[in-house]
Amino acid sequence: MGIQVRQLRKSFGGTVAVNGIDLDINDGEMLVLLGPSGCGKTTSMRCIAGLEAPDSGHITINGRTVFDGQSGTNVPVNKRHVGMVFQSYAIWPHLTVFENVSFPLDMEGVAPAEITRRVGEVLELVGLAGMDHRGASYLSGGQMQRVALARSLVMRPDVLLFDEPLSNLDARLRDHLRVQLRELQTQLKITSVYVTHDQREALALADQIVVMQAGRVLQKGDPIELYNHPATNTVAEFLGYTNVFEVDVVSGDAAGSEVSFKANGRRLQAGPAPGGNANSLCVCVRPDHVSLRALAAGDDAPVGNAIAGEVILASFLGSHMQYRVRTGEREIWEVLSADVAAGTRLGSRVALSIEPRHLQVLAKDA
């Protein structure tokens, strides 16, 4: 069961929007499509919904083939039984909240009493109880978003699709709704596809993340696995790694390696280099895996796997301090330190030390 997508391709005129992707979504799981603007996330999702006819490929939803390029099967959108929350919400302005939400049930031909019950239930669920008869056109952004969600939930869809549903909301509301969405998802166990280019949203919501670029899948995996072991520098960057540097491997084996930074020849101990013959390599390290301590004046060569530098930004994030440290020509490190009371400030000389296993060596994307 769940959803299987095989070799999906879709182009518009000359531009290839989706270039042969495979996706597997298990029952009740949320898959997040993550990638930069224009990489084909929306298009992939619209193909699953049936709003876009793919050029070729194969899509199965809960065991039913809804699209097959070879046999020409293409189940129309209104027969796919999918729910979708549009980025623009697509709330019908001439209808009330109740009429918006009851629409899918109306289309299914559900009895009026049942409709009232189910709409009431779902409005309660999304926190809009009692708003049934409000006109839809003057709702706030957050309310519209909830109406859109309710409208999709009420039909108990086989799959629920989200196209950047939170991107039009302010940050607090976004955080709030993100948590709510995760709650709802784990509670209701609806198979979902969620499109975003915000890595925090992706990590917080996903059971599985698929990182896309230029119509292709770069890497997929569960959020923790992916976050800890990005396969390439591009994936690392999407996932919020700010410390990514090009390197050459000087020497190494299965236990670890020594790398030399291309920008300035700095040498550090790092994790094992990937097998195969990648043309070019990078190292990446999470900002919270770098530890920072003040350096005595004149001490320019800290001991161990460490670098000296100067703090050029210090920003208090509540539970952490965020620092930027310039360590050399075209080389700036980002550091998250739990020690908020350390008193390190702008202009301080500091040493950054990194455990070799945290300095991951990755293939560099072409």
Binding site: N78, V82, M84, P93, F103, M155
Partner: protein
């Protein structure tokens, strides 16, 4: 497709055919293929007609766009006093059929007996107004084509998200620059669209140049065509060839407009309610208001006064200004004669039926057409769109002629009934109806409809439950416009009416040709009052039900 074929393509093909043969098409006369029609038309008269056409079209368009754009902006975006009046000003000329407008201005400003000239003379001015000139024709065009740009630009302006203008203000633009850099570019499709429409409509306009220019022998292309057709024997081939030349010209204009607007998505509405912002005019409030009043007075007040004069005077002779207000000169005899004339009632009924049928059947047809063109990817929709715009390039005279040649020779009981008029009107007003309805369809974001389909609605139900209700006011407005256009139609009817199917405008035109000015004025007055009553009733109904 087939419907459009019959309504539009067939008359056009008939015309093309007619332009390559020596006799009238389907007339049963001996005929042969020829190029003569195209080589024979380029005489001095033709060149003068082309020049005149260009002058009245460009002059009239410039004036109508200026007035209409200004009114639309005042109504949509400013705190001008009397908003309702501004709206009224923008739409009012629709009440006045162009034939009536031309007749009224001919009463006002032709020669020494024009009312305005009598007044000027009495006041001791040596300056005289002469409407029976190319400039006069352009002026009347400019005055009465205002509703087109007004409607287009007004709706485009109200759809601009106020944030966009405010953002420009925030980024340092003053009012003039916001207007120039943001507002105007955003309404450019509306401006270009209505401007092109006006150029073309004026180029093929018939009653105004005929009534104002006719007595002096001034010809525009459409008059030239009409006169070619009126010659004995009728120069059908030459007339058709002139039409084809005009069609080619206009087609080129349409292509230019397409190029200009290609690849831009101006949809700014996503289903969120907009609170339009109002711009304080400051000291310009009252001058703006006076401009509106002046326009109303010149476009409606003067002609209506002129018609009242003409209708209720016992004699046409007016020696001086005093006799314009002398009660002993007035009588209701002409009006009584009109109101007791059975042919007037018959023609009124004909007009109502023909216009009503056009609005209903046509409105539905144009809706389907717009939907297919803008919301589906069916093959051939580009062709459909092209066909829908084709009548723009077909002068009404010629459509009338093409339809006459077709239906008079087909053994179906259509010719001689009102149905043939409805066919002509539906064909003729396809561009207006299609554009009006398309404009409201494209403002509805695809997502709204797609959300309904995702929610399980078939396409038909999505249209019925979502698209149609959202467009209702747009469609209703289009219905009313179509109805009024149908009521005003004269040109295509000229070839198609029979004694039993005379419409009101035809009766007036016949009276004019017979020189019965008192009857013309009385009838025009009645006609105008009916149009006003219908439009007001239509808007009431719209406000109550939509």
């Amino acid at each position: 497709m087939a419907v459009l074929g019959i309504l539009i393509v067939l008359p056009f093909l008939t015309l093309v055919y007619a332009s390559f043969i020596t006799a009238a098409p389907f007339s049963g006369n001996e005929t042969a293929w020829t190029w003569q029609n195209y080589t024979g038309i380029w005489n001095e008269q033709m060149l003068e007609a082309v020049t005149n056409t260009l002058i009245v079209s460009f002059g009239g368009t410039t004036m109508a766009m200026g007035i209409g754009g200004l009114l639309a902006w005042l109504a949509a975006r400013t705190d001008v006093p009397g908003k309702a009046l501004v709206h009224l000003a923008g739409l009012m000329p629709l009440f006045l059929s162009l034939i009536v407008a031309a007749l009224a201005w001919s009463l006002l400003g032709s020669g020494r007996s024009g009312y305005l000239n009598i007044i000027l003379a009495s006041l001791g001015f040596s300056f005289r107004i002469d409407m029976q000139t190319v400039a006069g024709i352009a002026f009347v065009h400019g005055l009465y084509y205002v509703p087109f740009p007004f409607l287009y630009i007004y709706s485009a302006l109200t759809l601009i998200h106020p944030d966009m203008e405010e953002a420009a203000g925030i980024h340092g633009a003053n009012l003039a620059r916001t207007l120039g850099r943001i507002t105007f570019p955003l309404v450019r499709p509306a401006v270009a669209g209505s401007g092109l429409l006006l150029l073309v409509l004026m180029a093929e306009e018939f009653p105004v140049p005929q009534i104002l220019g006719g007595p002096r022998g001034i010809e525009t292309l459409s008059i030239h065509i009409f006169n070619l057709m009126r010659q004995v024997p009728a120069a059908t081939g030459h007339a058709s060839a002139v039409c084809i030349v005009l069609t080619a010209l206009v087609g080129a204009l349409v292509v230019v407009q397409r190029r200009m607007l290609a690849g831009r998505d101006y949809r700014t509405v996503t289903g969120k309610g907009l609170q339009a912002r109002v711009l304080p005019l400051g000291i310009w409030r009252w001058p703006a208001f006076c401009f509106v009043l002046l326009y109303i007075f010149v476009a409606m007040g003067l002609p209506l006064l002129a018609l009242l004069q003409g209708a209720f005077r016992s004699t046409l002779f007016i020696p001086d200004i005093a006799s314009l207000v002398d009660p002993s000169q007035f009588s209701t005899k002409h009006m009584r004669a009109i109101l007791t004339d059975a042919t007037v009632y018959k023609s009124l009924a004909n007009s109502l039926i023909a216009a009503g049928a056009t609005a209903l059947v046509g409105g539905l047809l144009y809706f389907v057409l717009s939907y297919v063109v803008h919301r589906t990817d069916l093959p051939g929709r580009k062709t459909l769109e092209f066909l829908a715009n084709l009548p723009l390039a077909l002068p009404a005279l010629v459509m009338g002629l093409g339809i006459l040649w077709i239906w008079a020779n087909i053994p179906l009981p259509v010719y001689g009934t009102l149905a043939v008029l409805v066919i002509a009107y539906m064909g003729r007003f396809t561009p207006q109806g299609f554009r009006a309805i398309s404009a409201s369809i494209v403002q509805i974001h695809d997502d709204l409809e797609q959300a309904a389909m995702v929610a399980g609605a078939t396409r038909f139900r999505a249209v019925k439950r979502i698209v149609w209700p959202l467009m209702r006011s747009g469609v209703a407005a289009a219905f009313i416009v179509l109805f009024v256009l149908g009521m005003r139609e004269l040109t295509a009817s000229l070839f198609l009416f029979t004694t039993d199917t005379r419409v009101l405008s035809i009766v007036i035109y016949e009276q004019y040709e017979n020189g019965g000015w008192s009857a013309v004025a009385s009838l025009s007055l009645v006609y105008t009052l009916i149009l006003i009553a219908l439009t007001v009733a239509g808007r009431r109904w719209m406000r109550a039900n939509v």
